[in-house]
């Protein structure tokens, strides 16, 4: 038998048919939907008189376009309210489970599916959202699709797709103090570049990922798309099985034992070949920051901005109001956002709270904490973190995508810097003219306390 990668094993188990010289028909186990990229797909079905093939394989949530304050009140923005209403109506009409605003399971789709035990190893999962790559942390093939493809999956439970090439990134060694999973992925993207993964599906391998918690693995896989890779995967192991056990929709009893026996086979064979491989050292990684307008433009917190001479690079620095060859240290920052599908899970808030405890945020800073789900909110309260945040002057909001893409009112004003735990520092991403600096929840917390960027490596050592 030919040696296979983890990706091959899951992919091959889902191929319904192969079209000669064309794409393959891939069977989809779980389809996640939200209000922004689904309405036109439902319309498409209606126009063609097709029904949803498998409503029981779909999970819906309201997350992208929802307020993070007063969720019990009607949504003020008419267009947003209409979009949410459409989602509710479509789900009702097609018998799809919806965790709407106010539901105890509501939250960001990539936070709730794992925490409910819906995300499992060996599954194929899609969503009209590029950060679907998050679920690859469990050894699932998970990737973002466009709305036409959402309609394809509604209609057939399948997707027509070319098999991507394979890429593996190894990180081995011991991470330094204060280096979080977010720093690991920002470092990887800064080294490999923002389009290094395009056309590929990535596997992350090495002791650094093996020793990471599931939440850390999710942060890493989440940002695979930021180097262009459609998805990222980590082989499932005991950490994965432990995380899944006991969750609402996870398999139970003998069913679980059988599943675990299968999940254990989901690892890359030793002889398997990758189209591209990279090897990085954990010791080389430090807390990271981005200085430009794509996630590949990252440096270690105490490094200087590289000196490059090309128009796109210069335009990017002009937008950010940063200079080549200069450090970011001491840059005054008025906005800090801890949230998004990258970093809004309980461990992220524990890291932040642990640093913040007993300190006060700087008076110039607006610090927004937006948990990824109602369940994360519940834990924040149960663990007493809410008190820590409130005493330090941080604002704890209700769950949603929030200032990551600023579709709702959570926008960063023009010209302002925001140290953000989200995934994209594109121009205008957090609001027109807003300047995003991507970082870990620890760096974000420190920035909020100091009111400016400081070299935390000094504090840590």
């Amino acid at each position: 038998m030919m040696a296979k990668t983890l990706f091959d094993k899951v992919w091959d188990a889902h191929v319904v048919d192969r079209i000669e010289n064309g794409p393959q028909i891939l069977y989809i186990d779980k389809h996640l939907i939200h209000e922004v990229t689904s309405p036109q797909a439902f319309n498409e079905l209606k126009e063609r008189g097709i029904s949803v093939a498998h409503p029981e394989k779909i999970i819906a949530t309201a997350d992208h376009n929802t307020p993070t304050k007063d969720q019990h009140l009607p949504v003020k923005d008419i267009l947003s309210r209409n979009q949410l209403k459409q989602l509710a109506e479509n789900c009702k009409e097609h018998n799809i489970t919806l965790y709407n605003l106010g539901h105890k399971y509501n939250g960001i789709i990539h936070v709730i599916a794992p925490e409910l035990g819906i995300t499992q190893p060996g599954l194929t999962m899609v969503c009209g959202d590029s950060h679907t790559s998050t679920h690859g942390a469990f050894g699932a093939i998970a990737f973002g699709i466009g709305t036409s493809q959402v309609a394809q999956v509604f209609a057939s439970q399948c997707l027509l797709i070319q098999k991507p090439k394979s890429l593996r990134v190894h990180v081995n060694g011991k991470l330094k103090k204060g280096v979080l999973p977010k720093d690991v992925i920002l470092y990887i993207i800064s080294k490999l570049g923002t389009n290094s993964g395009t056309g590929y599906f990535c596997e992350y391998a090495g002791n650094v990922f093996e020793e990471m918690s599931m939440e850390g693995r999710m942060t890493v896989c989440n940002m695979s798309i930021e180097m262009g890779a459609r998805g990222g995967m980590i082989a499932p192991d005991e950490t994965t099985f432990e995380y899944i056990k006991g969750r609402e929709f996870a398999p139970k009893g003998i069913d679980l034992e059988e599943k675990i026996a299968y999940w254990k086979t989901l690892k890359t064979d030793e002889e398997a070949n990758f189209d591209k491989e990279f090897f990085l050292n954990a010791e080389d990684i430090a807390p990271m920051l981005t200085y430009g307008t794509n996630p590949g433009m990252g440096i270690k917190i105490n490094e200087t901005i590289p000196v490059e001479n090309n128009d796109s690079f210069e335009q990017s620095l002009a937008y950010m109001n940063f200079q080549k060859g200069k450090k970011l240290i001491n840059t005054p920052v008025n906005f800090v956002f801890i949230g998004s599908c990258t970093n809004s899970r309980i461990e992220d808030f524990r890291v932040a709270a642990n640093y913040i405890k007993g300190k006060q945020k700087a008076s110039n800073v607006n610090a927004w904490l937006v948990p990824g789900s109602q369940q994360v909110v519940k834990k924040i309260k149960e663990e007493g973190l809410q008190t820590i945040f409130e005493e330090a002057g941080f604002e704890l909001r209700q769950p949603g995508c929030s200032a990551c893409l600023a579709m709702n009112d959570d926008k960063i004003p023009e010209g302002e810097y925001c140290v953000s735990t989200s995934n994209r520092n594109f121009e205008g991403r957090q609001g027109q003219g807003a300047r995003t600096i991507l970082a870990s929840p620890l760096v974000a917390a420190v920035t909020a306390i100091e009111g400016k960027i400081v070299d935390i490596t000094k504090q840590l050592n």
Binding site: V16, D17, N21, G22, P23, I25, Y27, V36, T37, P39, Q40, E44, R48, I50, H64, D77, L79, S80, N82, Q83, Q86, G128, D129, S130, G144, I145, G146, T147, S148, Q149, A151, Q152, A155, S156, Q157, C158, L160, Q162, P164, T194, N195, T198, G199, G228, R230, T293, N294, N310, D311, S312, Q315, L405, A406, M407, E414, R424, F426, E427, G428, Q432
Partner: protein
């Protein structure tokens, strides 16, 4: 889906790299529940200043340049999976995007909306951008049947998946195809 067979037109040179889908259509315009009207807001924050006035510096606002072909810098369409980006480009009137590299999801979204993404060599792209900037009247021909892009720099063959080519030439889409495969899909489900 609208068919695509052949196109002869002038082109707009947009020599910016890594144009992400947030630039093509900012998130605040994603609140619609149909596919209409996105063209009005394509490249919104580059075309207009925050106060709503026209940014005369931006190439799409330069009357010298027009046409249904957009020639753009490396790594076009990265970022968000929003198909609204393809709807916005199509709504504005683009039928062809030429770049040296396309993000995966954008490429699929474009093809699903009758927009042909053409990938060409990075050096040739540079020359082509320069050529069009200097002479906006230059016309390019795209012949999908022959997979050929005809430019004043010479004729360039481009690649496209044979299945996708067939879809574009005939205006077929993937939903029609998948629905026609119902039996095979049901057989697969029975084997699960």
């Amino acid at each position: 889906m609208e068919k695509f067979v052949k196109l002869l037109d002038t082109a707009i040179p947009l020599s910016i790299e890594n144009i992400d889908t947030d630039q093509i259509i900012p998130a605040r315009f994603l609140k619609a529940t149909d596919k209409k009207g996105f063209g009005d807001n394509v490249f919104r924050d580059w075309r207009f200043h925050k106060d709503g006035s026209v940014n005369k510096e931006f190439i799409l606002n330069n009357k010298k340049y027009e046409g249904a072909i957009l020639v753009a810098g490396n790594n076009f369409g990265c970022g968000s999976s929003r198909e609204h980006a393809a709807w916005a480009l199509a709504g504005y009137g683009f039928r062809v995007i030429i770049s040296s590299f396309f993000a995966d999801i954008f490429k699929e979204n474009a093809l699903n909306n009758g927009i042909l993404p053409i990938q060409i060599n990075a050096k040739v792209l540079e020359l082509l951008l320069q050529k069009i900037k200097n002479n906006p009247a230059i016309k390019l021909t795209i012949d999908l049947e022959e997979q050929e892009l005809i430019t004043p720099l010479g004729n360039i063959e481009f690649e496209i998946n044979p299945y996708k080519k067939l879809c574009l030439l005939n205006g077929y889409d993937d939903i029609d195809f998948l629905v026609s495969k119902k039996k095979e899909i049901e057989a697969f489900e029975a084997s699960l």
